[in-house]
C-alpha cells in the first residue's frame, strides 16, 4: 500500500479505529458521555482526513475501492449523518435502562460499512460494505432488548435482509460466471461489447436490482419498512432511513454514471413503473396510518420513488438532482426521526399522532423545528426539500418525462395531506394525549442537533448555490 493509498483510505480507517476504541473504552469504563465523545472524535477525525484525502484523490486502492471526489463527498455526508445520529442517540438512551456504549460501536461499524459502499467500484467490496452495514443494523434495530416490538423488528429485518442479500449475491455470482469480472467499469464495458448470454446477464442484473431495491425500500420490496421503522429505536430508524438508503443511492449513482445513461428502454419502463408505484403506494398507505413513525416510513418509500424519477429522467441534471434531493431527504428524515427520539419519554416513544397534540404550545421550539422538517418533506419553499423537488422537476422537465412528473405532482398533493395531519395535531388542543410518551426533560444535545439541522435545511433552502457548486464538482469528477 502506497502512502497516497493510505491517505486516501484514512477516513475509513479512522472510523474503523473509532469503533475499536469505543469498544475498548466500553470494556473498562461504561459511560454514555465518554462513548459519545469518542464517537464524535472519530467522526471529526475522519471528516478532517477527508480534506487530506481530497488532495490525493482520485486514488484507486486495490481493485476494490476508489476514493474519488464523488466518494469523498458521499463519505462526508455519511459521516455527518452518523455523527448526528450519535448525538440523537445520546439523549435517547440516557433516558433508558440497559447498555448504551454498544450503540455507538455498532453505529460506527454500520457507518464504516456505508462508507465502504459509497467508495466501492467492485462487487466484492460492495458485498463487504453491505454486510458490515446490514449486520450492524440487525443488532441496532433490535437494540432495546426489553421491547418486544424492537426485537420483532430486528428479527424481521434479519430474515428479510438476509434473503435480499442472497439475491444480490446470486446475481453477482452469475455476472461473474458470465463476464469473469466483478469490477463495475469492466463489467459495463463487457456488457456494452456484447458477446455474452443476454438472458443470463439480464437475469443477474435483475437479481442485483432486487438486493439494491430492498435496501432502498422501493415497491414491491418495501414491506419491511413500516414494521422496522416502527419497532427500531428512533435514532436507529433515523439511521436506517438516511445512511443506509443514502449509501445505496451512491452506489446506484456510481453505476449510473458509469453506464452513462445508456439504459435500455425496457429497463427504463420497469424503473418508471417501480417509481410510480413507490410514490403511490407510499403516499396512499401513509394516509391510513395513525402512527407517526409509520407515516414517516411510508413517506420515505414515496421519497425514494421521487428520487428514482430523477434517475429515470436522466439528462445533465440527473446526478445533481439526485444528490441534492438525497441530501435534502437525509437532512429532513434525520430531523423528523430525531424529533421523535428527542420528545419521547422514558416509558415509550412518542409515536402516536395524539402524542403530538398541543406540542406547539408545550414545546414551541421543538414543534417549530418539526413543522419545518415536515414542510421540507412536503417541498415547501424556504426549505431544502423545496430546492430538492425543484431540481427533481427540473431534471424531469429537461427530459420531458411528463407521466412521471404528473405522478410527482399528484403525489405531492397526497403527501401534503398527511404531513399537514401531523402539523395539525401539533397545534390541536392538548387533551387526548396518552401519558408516558412525553419527555419530561429536554435532551440538550439532541435539541441542539435538531436546531442545527433545521438551520441547515433553511440555509440550503434559501442559499443553495454553494452546495450546488460543490455537488457539481463532485459529480463531474467521475
Amino acid at each position: 500500500m502506497t502512502e497516497a493509498q493510505f491517505v486516501a483510505l484514512s477516513p475509513l480507517i479512522l472510523v474503523g479505529l473509532a469503533a475499536l476504541v469505543v469498544m475498548l473504552a466500553a470494556s473498562f469504563k461504561r459511560s454514555n458521555g465518554l462513548a459519545l465523545g469518542l464517537t464524535l472524535a472519530g467522526f471529526a477525525a475522519s471528516l478532517v482526513s477527508l480534506a487530506w484525502a481530497a488532495k490525493v484523490a482520485p486514488v484507486q486502492v486495490t481493485p476494490l475501492i476508489l476514493i474519488d471526489r464523488l466518494a469523498l463527498f458521499y463519505l462526508g455526508l455519511v459521516f455527518l449523518t452518523g455523527a448526528a445520529v450519535a448525538l440523537l442517540g445520546h439523549g435517547y438512551f440516557e433516558k433508558r435502562a440497559g447498555y448504551r456504549d454498544e450503540f455507538y460501536m455498532l453505529l460506527l461499524m454500520a457507518t464504516l460499512g456505508a462508507g465502504v459502499l459509497v467508495a466501492t467500484t467492485h462487487f466484492a467490496a460492495l458485498f463487504i460494505g453491505l454486510e458490515l452495514l446490514t449486520i450492524s443494523l440487525y443488532a441496532l434495530v433490535g437494540y432495546t432488548r426489553t421491547e418486544p416490538r424492537s426485537l420483532e423488528a430486528g428479527l424481521k429485518y434479519l430474515v428479510l435482509a438476509t434473503v435480499s442479500t442472497s439475491f444480490l449475491l446470486f446475481g453477482v455470482a452469475l455476472l461473474y460466471a458470465e463476464l469473469g469480472t466483478m469490477e463495475f467499469g469492466k463489467m459495463v464495458d463487457l456488457i456494452r461489447q456484447g458477446g455474452h448470454r443476454e438472458t443470463l446477464v439480464n437475469g443477474a442484473i435483475a437479481l442485483v436490482g432486487i438486493g439494491i431495491g430492498f435496501k432502498l425500500a422501493l415497491v414491491p420490496l418495501h414491506m419491511w419498512t413500516p414494521d422496522v421503522y416502527e419497532g427500531a429505536p428512533a435514532p436507529v430508524t433515523a439511521f436506517v432511513a438516511t445512511v443506509s438508503k443514502g449509501a445505496m443511492t451512491a452506489v446506484l449513482l456510481r453505476l449510473y454514471l458509469l453506464v452513462g445513461g445508456a439504459i435500455p428502454d425496457s429497463v427504463m419502463t420497469l424503473l418508471s413503473v417501480i417509481a410510480i408505484l413507490s410514490m403511490f403506494v407510499g403516499n396512499l398507505l401513509a394516509l391510513l396510518q395513525d402512527n407517526v413513525k409509520r407515516i414517516l416510513a411510508y413517506s420515505s418509500i414515496a421519497h425514494l420513488g421521487y428520487l428514482l424519477v430523477a434517475f429515470i429522467a436522466g439528462g445533465n441534471f440527473a446526478p445533481e438532482a439526485v444528490t441534492y434531493y438525497l441530501i435534502a431527504y437525509m437532512a429532513t428524515s434525520l430531523g423528523t426521526f430525531g424529533m421523535v427520539s428527542v420528545i419521547s419519554g422514558r416509558e415509550r416513544e412518542a409515536e402516536e399522532l395524539r402524542d403530538y397534540a398541543g406540542l406547539f404550545w408545550r414545546r414551541p421550539f421543538e414543534a417549530g423545528v418539526f413543522a419545518a422538517m415536515l414542510m421540507s418533506l412536503a417541498g415547501i419553499p424556504l426549505t431544502a426539500g423545496f430546492i430538492g423537488k425543484f431540481y427533481l422537476l427540473a431534471a424531469g422537465v429537461d427530459m420531458g418525462a411528463w407521466v412521471l412528473l404528473g405522478s410527482v405532482v399528484i403525489n405531492s398533493a397526497l403527501g401534503l395531506f398527511y404531513y399537514l395531519r401531523i402539523v395539525a395535531s401539533m397545534y390541536a388542543a392538548e387533551t387526548s394525549a396518552k401519558p408516558g410518551a412525553a419527555a419530561r426533560e429536554v435532551a440538550l444535545l439532541g435539541s441542539a442537533t435538531l436546531a442545527a439541522l433545521a438551520l441547515c435545511l433553511i440555509w440550503l433552502g434559501v442559499f443553495p448555490a454553494g452546495l450546488i457548486t460543490l455537488i457539481r464538482s463532485a459529480v463531474l469528477g467521475v
Binding site: 404550545w361 414542510m375 412536503a378 415547501i380 419553499p381 424556504l382 423545496f386 425543484f390 422537476l393 427540473a394 422537465v397 429537461d398 412528473l405 410527482v408 405532482v409 399528484i410 405531492s412 398533493a413 401534503l416 395531506f417 399537514l420 402539523v423 395539525a424 397545534y427 442559499f463 443553495p464 448555490a465 450546488i468 457548486t469 457539481r472
Partner: protein, 501 residues
C-alpha cells in the same frame, strides 16, 4: 434596495411580533401595526415620487428595480421591479394589511404573537409576489404566502377549520406545482433556443416556441392562477377557506390573495404566451361567465353570511377573468379597477361579518334579522358595502364592472350579455344579505353593541376608498395605462379577429 426593504420590514416585524407576543399581547399588535404603517409610508413615498402626482412617466417600464445574484448556477437571481400595476397592488396589500391588524384587535386573544407573525409573513409573501420579476423568485413567494395562511385558518379559524385549511393548502399547492412545471418547461424551451439558462422575466418574454408547446405551458400558469383567482371550476376551496378563516384571514384572502391570481394572469400568462392566450380566450371567457352566474346563484342560496360573501367573491372574480381575456383597453382597465374595488368591498364585508360574529357568535342568517334597530351604524355600513358589491354608480365597483362590460362587449357579445345578468344576481344576493341580517323584525331579541371607534375608523377608510375610486378613478387608470396598453398591443390580433367574426 427600497423594494427589498418593502419585503423585509414585514418579515422582520413578524418575527419581532412573534417573540414579543408571548409576553405582551398589545405590544405585539402595535409592533405589527407600526411595521405595516412604516412599510406603507415607504411604499407611498416611493410610488408618489415616481407617479409624480399620479402622472405616469412613460419612458421606463419599471420605475424601481432591484437585481442581485442568488443562484447563479441555475440562472436564478433576486430580481424585483415595480411598475404601475404592481404599485397599486402593493398599496392595496398594505392598506388591507393594516385593516387586518385592526380588525383582529379584539378577535384574536389566544396566541396573538404567533398570529401576527403569520399575518405579517403573509403580507410579506404577497408583496414578494407582486414585486418578483424572476420566475423562480415569484414561485418562491407564491408558495411562501400559503404556509402562514394555512396556520391562520387552521389555528384561529372557526369550527370546521381543519378541513378548510387542508383543502386550501392542497388546492393551491398542487396547482402551484403545475405552475412550477410550466416555469421549468418555459425556461428549458428558452434555453434550447438561446443557450442560456435563466429564470428572468424580462429575458423570457418573447420566447419563441411552437403553438402547441406554448398552449401546454400556458395551461400550467393558467390553472395555478385561476385556482387562486378563483374561477369556475377551480373554486371549491374558496367558500370553505373564507368561511372558516378568522376575520383578518378572510380579509386578506379575499382582498389580496385572490388578486395575486389576477395579477399573475396579467403579468405572466398573457405577456409570456400572447398567442396561446389569444386562442385560449374563448375558453377563459366562458369560464369567467359561468363563474359569474354560478357563484351568484350559489351566493343567493347560502344561509351562512361568510359563505355568501365568499361566493360573491367568486362571482366578481369571474368579471376579472372575462375582462382579462377580452384584451382591450377598457376591459383591462376595468380589471385593475375591479381588483382594487373588490379588495376593498369584500374586505369590508368580511370585516363587518367578523365583527358581527364576535358579538352574536353565529353567522347563520336564519338566526339574525332586525339588527338595524339595535345597531344602526352596523346596518348603514352593511348597506353601503352591499351597494358597492352590487355595483351602485358612484362607487368604485360600478366603474370597474362597467369598464369590463364595455370592453368585453367588443370581444364577445353573448358572453357580455350573460355576464350582465350577473349584475342582476349581484343585486339579488346583496339585498338578500341585507334583508336577512339587518331588516325585518328582530325575532330573537338581539341587542348588540354598535360599531366601536376602532371599527368605525376602519370602515371609514374603506368607504373613503370606494367613494374616491367611484368618483375619481383617473389616477388608477393613469397608473396602469402603460401596462394596459402594452398588453393590448401584445394581443391585438385577437380583438380584430373577434370583431371580424
Amino acid at each position: 434596495m427600497i423594494l427589498v426593504w418593502l419585503i423585509l420590514i414585514p418579515l422582520v416585524g413578524g418575527v419581532v411580533a412573534g417573540f414579543v407576543g408571548s409576553r405582551n399581547v398589545s405590544a405585539c399588535r402595535w409592533i405589527s401595526l407600526v411595521a405595516l404603517a412604516l412599510d406603507a409610508a415607504l411604499a407611498i413615498g416611493m410610488i408618489s415620487q415616481h407617479l409624480g402626482g399620479f402622472q405616469y412617466e412613460s419612458s421606463k417600464v419599471w420605475f424601481e428595480e432591484f437585481r442581485a445574484s442568488w443562484i447563479p448556477v441555475l440562472g436564478i437571481s433576486v430580481h424585483l421591479g415595480l411598475d404601475g400595476l404592481s404599485s397599486l397592488m402593493v398599496l392595496l396589500t398594505l392598506f388591507l394589511g393594516i385593516i387586518g391588524v385592526g380588525a383582529s384587535w379584539s378577535e384574536i386573544q389566544e396566541r396573538a404573537g404567533f398570529f401576527h407573525f403569520n399575518f405579517l409573513w403573509i403580507i410579506a409573501g404577497v408583496l414578494g409576489v407582486f414585486l418578483a420579476l424572476d420566475l423562480f423568485l415569484f414561485f418562491f413567494f407564491w408558495e411562501i404566502m400559503l404556509v402562514p395562511m394555512y396556520f391562520l385558518i387552521g389555528i384561529w379559524g372557526h369550527e370546521n377549520r381543519q378541513y378548510a385549511a387542508v383543502k386550501f393548502f392542497i388546492f393551491t399547492q398542487a396547482s402551484g406545482l403545475l405552475m412550477l412545471l410550466s416555469i421549468l418547461a418555459l425556461v428549458f424551451v428558452h434555453r434550447a433556443g438561446t443557450g442560456t439558462l435563466t429564470f428572468d422575466y424580462s429575458e423570457l418574454l418573447g420566447t419563441q416556441m411552437l403553438p402547441a408547446v406554448a398552449t401546454w405551458i400556458m395551461l400550467g400558469f393558467f390553472i395555478a392562477f385561476t385556482v387562486k383567482l378563483p374561477a369556475f371550476p377551480f373554486h371549491p376551496w374558496l367558500p370553505d377557506a373564507h368561511t372558516e378563516a378568522p376575520t383578518a384571514g378572510s380579509i386578506v384572502l379575499a382582498g389580496i390573495l385572490l388578486k395575486t391570481g389576477a395579477y399573475g394572469l396579467l403579468r405572466f400568462t398573457v405577456p409570456l404566451f400572447p398567442e396561446a392566450a389569444r386562442s385560449f380566450a374563448p375558453v377563459a371567457m366562458t369560464l369567467g361567465v359561468i363563474g359569474i352566474i354560478y357563484a351568484a346563484l350559489m351566493a343567493f342560496s347560502q344561509s351562512d353570511l361568510k359563505r355568501l360573501v365568499a361566493y360573491t367573491s367568486v362571482s366578481h372574480m369571474g368579471f376579472v377573468l372575462l375582462g382579462i381575456y377580452s384584451f382591450n383597453e377598457f376591459a383591462l382597465q376595468g380589471v385593475v379597477m375591479q381588483m382594487i374595488c373588490h379588495g376593498l368591498s369584500a374586505g369590508a364585508q368580511f370585516m363587518l361579518v367578523g365583527a358581527l360574529y364576535e358579538r352574536i357568535h353565529t353567522r347563520d342568517m336564519g338566526k339574525m334579522g332586525g339588527l338595524w334597530t339595535t345597531a344602526p351604524a352596523f346596518g348603514v355600513a352593511g348597506m353601503f358595502f352591499a351597494m358597492a358589491s352590487l355595483g351602485l354608480p358612484g362607487l368604485g365597483n360600478f366603474i370597474a364592472e362597467f369598464l369590463i362590460l364595455v370592453g368585453s362587449f367588443q370581444a364577445s357579445v353573448p358572453a357580455t350579455t350573460i355576464a350582465a345578468l350577473g349584475l342582476v344576481g349581484a343585486t339579488v344576493y346583496s339585498l338578500w344579505f341585507m334583508r336577512g341580517a339587518f331588516f325585518g323584525p328582530n325575532e330573537r331579541g338581539w341587542t348588540i353593541v354598535d360599531l366601536n371607534a376602532r371599527e368605525l375608523v376602519l370602515i371609514a377608510a374603506f368607504v373613503i376608498g370606494l367613494v374616491w375610486l367611484g368618483v375619481y378613478p383617473q389616477p388608477v387608470l393613469n397608473a396602469v395605462a402603460p401596462v394596459v396598453q402594452s398588453l393590448e398591443k401584445m394581443t391585438q390580433p385577437v380583438t380584430a379577429a373577434l370583431l371580424r367574426s
